[in-house]
C-alpha cells in the first residue's frame, strides 16, 4: 500500500476510530492486527520474510538474555570456589557463546535482505556469464524490508550490549518490527525509542489529532504537488544521458534535489503525522538538510536515523574493534598522524560502501557511497586550511554572504554526487557531470528545452511555487517549529491551514487518471 493510494486512506480511516474505541490496553493489539493486514496486502512472501525476522530475532534476543542471566549466577557461585582467572575464563566462554548467537541471527536476517536486494542482480549477472535463464528476477524487494531489518538488527545488538533487556512478549516485538508507518520509507527506529509509546494506552486528543493532520497534509502537499511533478522531468532527463548534456545536467541536478527532498521529507511528514494521530512519537529524520554548510553536516541532517544507525552499529564498533586498534598500534612507527587516521579512514569508507550498497544493488550506488566517504575525509583533512582562511578573512567568513556560499556549495556538491543515482551506469554519470564543463548549451535550457520533458509550463510554475513555499517554511523553522506557531493561534486557524493544504493538493496535485500514481522514491529500499 502506498501513502498515495485510496486504499491507504481508507485503511487509516478505519484504523483510527477502532484504535480509540477499543479498551485502551487493547490498542497495541489493534495496531498489530492492522499491521498484519498492511503487510499481507503488500504480498504474502513479504509477510513470510517478516515472520522469519521476528521469530529469529525474538529467539536470539531471549537466548542472549538467558546467557547473561546464567553467566551471572554461575560466576556468583564460583566466587568462593574458583580463582579470578577461572572466573574470567568462564565469562569469556559465555561472551563467545553470546557472540555466536548474535552472529548466527545476523547472518539469517542480513542474508535475507542481501538475497532480496542482490538476488535479481546476481541472477542477471550469472545469466550473462553462463548464458542461462535469469533467476531471481521474480524475487521483488518486499516492502520496507531494508528499514525493518535495520531496526530489528539494532534491537538485537542493543540486547547483546545490554543496553536494553530482551522483549519477553513475541507479539510486542512483532508490533515493533511491523509498525506500518515505518514500512513505507522509514525512519529506522530503535526499540528503546518506540516501546513506551507503542504499548502505553493513549486517549484521543483533538490537539494531537490536529497537529498530526497538519503534518500529514503538508507531507502530501510536498509529495503530490512538488515531488511527483518534478519526477516526470527528472525521469525524462535521466533516461537520455546521450541527449541531455551540458547545462541541462545542472538543471537535472537541481530538479532532482528538489524532487528527492520533497518526496522523502514529505513521506516522513506523513509517517510522523500518523504517529501523532496514534500517540506514538516517531523520531525526526531531517533537520533542514539543504541548509548544511558542509557534506558531513549534511549527512547529520539528512536521513538522520540511517546515519545514526550506521554510526552506532557499524562505524564505532568497527573503529574501536580489536583488529583495528592492533592495526593502528602497528602503524605507529609511521607516525601518529598515520596511525590515528587509519581507523577513521577504514571505518568511514566501509560505512559509506555499505550505505551505498543499502541504497541499491546497482554499482553506481557503491561508487556514490565511496565518493561520499572520500569527500567527507577530504574536507576533514582540509579543516586546518579552512581554519587558516577563517583567521585570515574573519569579516568575510562571518558574513551572511559566505554562509550562503557554503550552503549552495554543499547543495551543488551533493547534487553532483546524486547523478550516480540518476543514471544506470557509472560511466553515464561521470560523462554527464563532465559535459557540464565542456558543453555550452544554455540556450537549450532557457529556451524550449524543458518543454519537451513531459511537463507543461504551468507545471514548472506550480513546482516553482511549491519549492518557494518549502524554502520559506524552512526559513521560518529556524526560529521554531512552524506547525506549533500556526496551532498556537487556535484550532480554527489550524483547521483552515489543513483545509488550504488539502484543497491545493486536490487541485494542483499530480494524481488520478492520466497521471501515474507515483511511488515514494525511497520505497524501493
Amino acid at each position: 500500500m502506498q501513502f498515495t493510494s485510496w486504499a491507504f486512506l481508507l485503511f487509516l480511516a478505519v484504523l483510527l476510530p477502532v484504535y480509540y474505541l477499543v479498551p485502551k490496553r487493547m490498542q497495541w493489539i489493534v495496531l498489530l492486527l492492522f499491521d498484519a493486514l498492511f503487510v499481507c496486502a503488500a504480498g504474502t512472501l513479504g509477510a513470510v520474510f517478516m515472520l522469519v525476522t521476528i521469530g529469529t530475532v525474538y529467539g536470539a534476543a531471549r537466548w542472549i538474555d538467558a546467557l547473561f542471566f546464567r553467566q551471572r549466577s554461575r560466576i556468583a557461585a564460583m566466587k568462593q570456589t574458583h580463582t579470578k582467572e577461572e572466573r574470567k575464563r568462564e565469562r569469556l566462554r559465555f561472551e563467545a557463546k553470546r557472540r555466536r548467537v548474535l552472529i548466527g541471527c545476523l547472518v539469517v536476517n542480513v542474508g535475507i535482505l542481501f538475497a532480496l536486494k542482490y538476488g535479481a542482480a546476481i541472477g542477471r549477472l550469472s545469466a550473462t556469464l553462463f548464458h542461462t535463464r535469469a533467476f531471481g528476477s521474480e524475487l521483488m524487494l518486499t516492502m520496507g524490508i531494508s528499514f525493518y531489518t535495520f531496526s530489528t538488527v539494532g534491537y538485537l545488538i542493543d540486547v547483546y550490549r545490554e543496553t536494553i533487556p530482551a522483549e519477553k512478549n513475541p507479539f510486542r516485538l512483532a508490533l515493533f518490527v511491523s509498525f506500518f508507518p515505518l514500512l513505507v520509507q522509514g525512519p529506522i527506529c530503535r526499540f528503546l525509542d518506540l516501546k513506551n509509546d507503542l504499548f502505553t494506552p493513549h486517549a484521543f486528543s483533538d490537539e494531537r489529532f490536529l497537529k498530526g493532520s497538519l503534518r500529514i497534509a503538508w507531507g502530501y502537499w510536498k509529495k503530490l504537488i512538488v515531488a511527483d511533478r518534478l519526477l516526470v522531468a527528472v525521469k525524462a532527463l535521466c533516461a537520455r544521458p546521450d541527449v541531455y548534456r551540458g547545462g541541462v545536467v545542472l538543471l537535472e541536478m537541481l530538479l532532482y534535489a528538489a524532487c528527492l527532498y520533497a518526496d522523502f521529507t514529505g513521506g516522513i511528514d506523513i509517517t510522523i503525522g500518523i504517529g501523532e494521530w496514534l500517540g506514538i512519537g516517531i523520531p525526526e529524520n531531517f533537520r533542514r538538510p539543504y541548509f548544511s554548510k558542509g557534506i558531513a553536516e549534511y549527512w547529520r541532517r539528512w536521513h538522520i536515523t540511517l546515519g545514526e544507525w550506521f554510526r552506532t552499529y557499524v562505524y564505532y564498533p568497527l573503529s574501536v574493534s580489536k583488529p583495528m586498534r592492533a592495526l593502528s598500534t602497528k602503524l605507529r612507527r609511521l607516525g601518529t598522524g598515520v596511525s590515528r587516521r587509519v581507523p577513521v579512514y577504514l571505518a568511514t569508507m566501509l560505512v559509506w560502501a555499505l550505505t551505498g550498497a543499502w541504497h541499491g544493488s546497482n554499482p553506481t550506488f557503491l561508487v556514490w557511497g565511496l565518493l561520499n566517504g572520500a569527500v567527507i575525509l577530504l574536507s576533514e583533512e582540509c579543516k586546518p586550511l579552512y581554519a587558516r582562511f577563517h583567521r585570515r578573512f574573519p569579516r568575510l567568513t562571518k558574513s551572511a554572504f559566505y554562509r550562503g556560499f557554503t550552503v549552495i556549495r554543499t547543495v551543488l556538491l551533493l547534487s553532483s554526487l546524486r547523478l550516480l543515482d540518476c543514471y544506470s551506469t557509472v560511466g553515464d554519470a561521470f560523462s554527464a557531470f563532465g559535459s557540464m564543463f565542456t558543453t555550452w548549451n544554455w540556450n537549450l535550457v532557457l529556451f524550449g528545452g524543458i518543454q519537451s520533458l513531459g511537463l507543461k509550463w504551468t507545471d514548472y510554475l506550480v513546482a516553482g511555487a511549491g519549492v518557494l513555499l518549502m524554502f520559506a517554511v524552512s526559513m521560518l523553522q529556524r526560529k521554531g517549529p512552524v506547525r506549533e506557531r500556526i496551532l498556537r493561534r487556535g484550532p480554527v486557524i489550524g483547521v483552515c491551514a489543513i483545509l488550504l493544504l488539502v484543497g491545493t493538493v486536490l487541485v494542483f496535485g499530480r494524481y488520478g487518471f492520466g497521471f501515474d500514481a507515483g511511488q515514494f522514491i525511497y520505497n524501493r529500499f
Partner: protein, 77 residues
C-alpha cells in the same frame, strides 16, 4: 583529567571543554572526533572505550568522559 582536556583541545582548539555539556548532542564532537578521541585515550590511558559506551551520556562533557575512563580503569584492575 588534564591529559584528556589536552587531547580535546587538540581536536577543537576553539571549544571550552570545561564548560560544554552537550558536546555530542550539539554536534561539536562528530564521529571522526570520537574515533580520534578513542584512539588518543587508548594511547594516553591504556583503556579501550567499547562501542556500546559511545553514547551522549558519556560523551556530552569532558567530566562524563573522564568518569567513564576512571570506571574502565578500575574494571581492569
Amino acid at each position: 583529567m588534564e591529559p584528556l582536556l589536552e587531547i580535546l583541545h587538540d581536536l577543537h582548539p576553539d571549544t571550552d571543554f570545561t564548560r560544554e555539556t552537550r558536546l555530542l548532542d550539539d554536534g561539536i564532537l562528530v564521529s571522526f572526533d570520537i574515533v580520534m578521541l578513542v584512539t588518543r585515550i587508548e594511547e594516553e590511558y591504556g583503556v579501550l572505550i567499547p562501542a556500546k559506551a559511545i553514547t551522549p551520556e558519556h560523551f556530552n562533557s569532558a567530566t562524563a568522559l573522564y568518569a567513564l575512563i576512571r570506571t574502565l580503569l578500575e574494571q581492569d584492575d
